[in-house]
Symmetry: C2
């Protein structure tokens, strides 16, 4: 009696279809410009059909982000495959920024919108799990460098270190995304700025030897 199972599969299939179409439209035209009706049109369903799978637009957005966080985390993990702990931090930072500028709309969704604080239980369980939590990946590597004595004496708290590194790379990405075509400013090429901020972060936090 596999009828409920089949129905479940079909339901999941439509759910996927909605998320894929929504992501494509969000990325292509931005969140604001993408209406529920347009998403519905793309999948050839009525707008109300979406509400059978997601509570509202915000919830749909949140689910998409959850998936995108995983890909960023994977990119970080791949970049962390290098021996020297300080260089590992640099690689992770560069992977993060590359993700940001290559997927600016994804990045906007993930890190540049006020999140409605609805802590789903499943999310909370993932905290600290390095296969889903990008912050945990960085934190792990930072602790490694910390234990190897690579940081200056005034940097001992792994969270402060992580959040300082994050501030630097996030700032570079966020400015690029929002300011890149502002006529007020003449921005240096992103690659230059990305390397500069990494140089500064590492030179500022780590002992001279590890340069």
């Amino acid at each position: 009696m596999g009828i409920p199972e089949r129905r479940e599969r079909e339901k999941e299939k439509l759910r996927r279809k909605i998320m894929d179409a929504a992501r494509t439209l969000f990325v292509e035209h931005g969140v604001e410009q993408t209406s529920m009706r347009k998403i519905a049109e793309a999948i050839e369903y009525s707008p109300t059909a979406i509400y059978l799978h997601f509570a509202d637009k915000e919830a749909l957005l949140r689910e998409i982000c959850r998936e995108d966080f995983s890909s960023l985390t994977q990119a970080e993990i791949a970049a962390g495959d290098i021996s020297d702990p300080v260089q590992r931090i640099r690689q992770i930072g560069m992977a993060y920024m590359t993700f940001g500028v290559q997927h600016p709309q994804h990045y906007r969704l993930m890190f540049m919108r006020r999140v409605k604080v609805v802590p789903v239980e499943e999310d909370l369980r993932r905290i600290g799990d390095p296969s889903h939590d990008g912050y945990a990946v960085l934190r792990h590597v930072v602790i490694g460098a910390l234990e190897a004595g690579r940081f200056r004496e005034n940097f001992t708290d792994p969270d402060v270190i992580c959040q300082t590194l994050w501030a630097g790379v996030h700032g570079a990405v966020a400015l690029e995304i929002t300011m890149c075509d502002d006529p007020w400013l003449t921005m240096a090429p992103f690659e230059v700025r990305a390397n500069a901020i990494l140089d500064v972060l590492i030179a500022g936090m780590c002992k001279e030897a590890g340069a």
Copy 2:
């Protein structure tokens, strides 16, 4: 014959009234949540009246930002009143971040939204003018420190230096604004993070002596 002058004054007066009401509502409830109708209601005019003074909501927003940029610039100038060029950079950075966390909604308008690129001639004329251009203020101070030989050898381009400093402080503020109440993360107190990023930026860019 002061009739046109009087009319001009009255027009300007309503314009001010619109901008003040709009700013208050934007800051209090956010841009998205503030409709033109609500602004109109606040000033006891019809929604259409706003369109006699501003082309659209975006233009109204832009005018408000222009004013806010000036206050930020003033805060920077006030913070720059200190002799040592490196400490001056630190003070400016701290003033910038303080402005951001104390006026998060203003900051959102100014630095966290994609700007429709409509370069008004008057704006373009203000570029580089330190009384209206906050970036120019920083740039001036950076060049001062550069001439005093306070930067490391690998930092010679004032724009790259400015934009790296900016990335750092913007990252700290932006993360604070968007992430402060995310249950996923346990953020260190903002003051700690603000000082940490300033320490890192300066230690990473400046010669050891200037610590």
